[in-house]
């Protein structure tokens, strides 16, 4: 099929996704806006990546994501040095590297953007981990600003009625918290509008990811890691909806023109866990050299799982359920069901799991998940040991060997 075409294609630029420049523009503007919030008389809230951002947007508060910032620190290869600073401050080096790098950057402002804009309030949703709770408590003490915690009970087997009621009442408390911090009332009409953008943006994001079901895949998980930023930070805005429409059009066009992200795509792999931010390029090249494309991942799809089932409810009500049942807030067996679905949907040949020292809720259980994938689905699965931001926990020679050996087994 496209193999020959690709080989004869003189234009390597064609390989690149053009929407990237628009994305960079949006993110740059967003950070400039956030950094100048004080001058604009606007408030800044720090919020966790799985947290409900929509009410903030409806209240015209600028959401800032320390985790996104952590990823930037990692991609800029500044993780090791900032983590070291945090260790000097007494934080154990076994703690999450997002948290360590961000805590150090809040104090020393030595990161890629010279420190995040300081928060007026903190919004922490523990649907991704217990670490964010401790991290935000640290921030609440350091900045001495109000902290709201949205406590989303872990779903081991079912999302009980009691838990639903609890989360729903907290959603109302959350709105009250924002009204107190901003000194004005929530505009519920505006809230529903933001909700509609959020739902549409999330659906579009899923469609973007779905293009990778096509063979060859028009992009890979390494692209998804990059394009994810908007659905995390600016979910609920027109801009995000427009951007993903643009991206989706481009990907469809690539499919039509048979442009593959990995030329000679032979193997289709699924990535599990957060990216190794300081080595995305290296890993991408490494897999591509074996003709392997990472066509899906459990990480970026976690946000597309956030499409609420409205059932005639208001956005806020539907949100309670959506935020509680995100990929990482569920049991290993429920995670397996989702992974199995993805393996089928994207016709995956193998799974690569990043055992991430920084993220216990994501990583502990991977050995069991791996066994389930291998035993029940017969799909080979590789585990690589690393860390998402702290490059001091990355052993290139060891990972090189593991990937080569894994690809040998796939090819055999």
């Amino acid at each position: 099929m496209s193999d020959n075409e690709k080989k004869h294609d003189p234009d390597t630029k064609q390989q690149k996704i053009k929407a990237v420049s628009r994305m960079k523009e949006i993110m740059t503007n967003y950070y400039i806006e956030a950094k100048s919030a004080r001058e604009q008389g606007r408030k800044v809230a720090w919020i966790t990546s799985g947290g409900p951002v929509e009410p903030l947007i409806a209240m015209d508060v600028i959401p800032v994501y320390p985790e996104n910032h952590g990823a930037m620190i990692g991609a800029s290869k500044m993780g090791g040095q900032l983590c070291e600073k945090a260790e000097e401050m007494g934080y154990s080096r076994d703690l999450c590297s997002y948290a360590r790098a961000d805590i150090a950057d809040a104090v020393y402002k030595q990161g890629p953007i010279g420190g995040l804009p300081e928060p007026d309030m903190l919004v922490c949703c523990n649907n991704i981990c217990g670490t964010v709770l401790k991290w935000y408590e640290t921030a609440a003490r350091y900045f001495d600003v109000p902290l709201f915690i949205l406590d989303t009970p872990f779903v081991h087997r079912e999302f009980s009625q009691e838990a639903q009621n609890y989360v729903l009442s907290q959603i109302h408390e959350y709105v009250g918290f924002l009204e107190d911090c901003c000194g004005r009332k929530m505009d519920y009409v505006r809230m529903e509008e933001v909700g509609r953008f959020s739902v549409e943006g999330t659906r579009l994001w899923q469609e973007v990811l779905d293009t990778c079901a096509h063979k060859p895949a028009p992009m890979t998980a390494f692209d998804a890691f990059f394009h994810l930023a908007l659905i995390v930070t600016l979910r609920g805005t027109q801009e995000t909806v427009d951007y993903y429409k643009q991206l989706l059009d481009e990907l469809k066009e690539r499919i039509r023109r048979k442009i593959a992200m990995v030329p000679n795509e032979k193997y289709r792999l699924l990535w599990d866990n957060l990216p190794v931010w300081y080595r995305t390029r290296w890993l991408s090249d490494k897999f591509a050299s074996h003709g392997a494309a990472l066509v899906a991942d459990t990480y970026t799809s976690a946000w597309s799982g956030m499409v609420p089932d409205m059932q005639g409810r208001s956005f806020l009500e539907a949100m309670a359920e959506t935020y509680t049942k995100v990929y990482i807030n569920i049991s290993i067996d429920m995670m397996f069901d989702i992974v199995a679905g993805m393996i089928k949907k994207y016709d995956v040949d193998g799974v690569v799991m990043h055992s991430n020292r920084s993220c216990k809720p994501y990583s502990l259980g991977q050995y069991d998940l791996r066994r389930m994938i291998m035993d029940r689905l017969g799909v080979p699965t590789l585990i690589i040991e690393a860390d998402m931001v702290d490059e001091r926990s990355f052993s290139e020679s060891q990972i090189n060997t593991r990937i080569d050996a894994f690809m040998e087994t796939l090819k055999a």
């Binding site: 081991h156 009691e162 907290q170």
Partner: protein, 398 residues
């Protein structure tokens, strides 16, 4: 060095140890034997009573409900044996409590359990629950997903609902009815146990030389292994035999310390500190005061509400959320109240909630002029030589 007095009955115990049968043992012997071999104790209990035993890891496990259902709640504090099976399920960056607990479940050391209950604790215990449920093969498994927030009305309401849900699950699983009466009885039993432990701690703080350095630690641990009625009888008898004597500690030149952290499963630490010239007089440990402080209300109206209120009121575990500055203030107060000279932090390696709190606790103590020492522990404590070097220097420093 080694100037501490042997505890009451200890010498006697050693001389008679070999010819004593269990029924001839005194309370202290029974505490020690339960502590030395908790599994052995549980197997013996099961054989004698044919009762069911439910394991738990966390100090937020509602032991009163388990007791009221006619089951025995048994705390799992991890083992010290070699890890062979758990490594197939857990990465190297998982704490030794979770690792050794899973090992024990997989290798048969916990074969007397009929099941386990996992209150929501931390990220690692949360995943342990899944791995345990999928691999350990016990008949019963309960997840009690308690709120993480402990300072709002909605969390209090949810707390009571979750406890009620657990009550129903227990009733269904074991085909029993947990009546309000039974629950009140259980609440009273545990309240008395907590009261006794508090007296024990108080006596030690009053005069540390009354006890073997690790005695109070062992007795408190025994309270988490032993059948509540039996423990209650023994602790009452034991306390009745303690003569407080004169106020100890002052003028003896020995230093008074508070331990702070998660679990402590190393009785040796108390002995080594004693050798270095310091007595532990109080703690803020999950296997210490956080397990027994604060009693449930006994006003006879709403037993589940009484349990929920206790969890909301007791000193907070760092995996839960209340006031963001509460722990530091409470720790400094504890130090002052017990006229302690310093704090030893026992940090279980890879325990995130505690590790996140450490820098601010340490700074708060520094600012309050309270010296502290950090000790990172795993299932095996650091080599004795290294430990003694730290302890002696710390005690010299005070």
């Amino acid at each position: 060095m080694g100037r501490y007095r042997a505890g009451k009955g200890r010498a006697l115990k050693n001389s008679r140890r070999h010819r004593l049968r269990e029924f001839q043992m005194n309370p202290e012997d029974r505490f020690y034997s339960a502590c030395l071999d908790p599994s052995g104790y549980a197997r013996g209990l099961k054989q004698r009573t044919c009762g069911k035993i439910l394991g738990y890891f966390c100090s937020y496990a509602p032991v009163e409900l388990i007791h009221a259902a006619g089951l025995h709640p048994f705390r799992i504090l991890g083992g010290k044996g070699e890890i062979r099976l758990a490594d197939a399920h857990l990465q190297s960056y998982c704490c030794s409590l979770v690792r050794s607990g899973l090992e024990a479940a997989l290798n048969g050391s916990l074969d007397f359990l009929d099941g386990a209950v996992f209150p929501h604790t931390c990220d690692s215990i949360q995943r342990l629950s899944d791995i345990w449920r999928l691999n350990a093969g016990f008949e019963h498994h309960f997840d009690v997903v308690l709120p993480v927030k402990l300072n709002t009305l909605s969390a209090r309401r949810y707390m009571a609902e979750v406890l009620n849900g657990f009550r129903k699950e227990l009733e269904q699983a074991f085909q029993v009815e947990i009546t309000d009466e039974a629950l009140w009885r259980a609440i009273r039993d545990y309240n008395v146990i907590r009261e006794k432990l508090e007296s024990l701690y108080g006596l030690r703080s009053f005069n540390p030389s009354l006890f073997d350095p690790s005695a109070v630690h062992r007795i408190t641990a025994a309270a988490m292994f032993m059948e509540p009625g039996a423990f209650l009888k023994d602790i009452s008898e034991y306390l009745g035999n303690v003569e407080p004597g004169v106020l100890g500690g002052t003028g003896s030149g020995r230093k008074r310390l508070v331990l702070s952290g998660g679990i402590c499963s190393h009785p040796d630490i108390y002995d080594l500190l004693a050798r270095a010239g310091a007595d532990v007089v109080w703690d803020d440990l999950c296997t210490g005061t956080r397990w027994f402080e604060e009693k449930a209300e006994e006003d006879g109206r709403d037993p589940i509400g009484a349990l929920a209120d206790r969890y909301m009121a007791r000193s907070v575990c760092p995996a839960k959320h209340a006031d963001v500055r509460a722990r530091a203030g409470e720790l400094a107060d504890t130090v002052r109240r017990h006229r302690a000279d310093g704090v030893v932090f026992l940090m279980l390696k890879f325990c995130d909630p505690h590790a996140f709190d450490y820098p601010y606790l340490k700074r708060f103590l520094d600012e309050a002029g309270i010296a502290s020492l950090l000790l990172e522990t795993e299932d095996h404590p650091p080599a004795e030589g290294q430990l003694m070097t730290r302890f002696e220097t710390f005690v010299d420093m005070l």
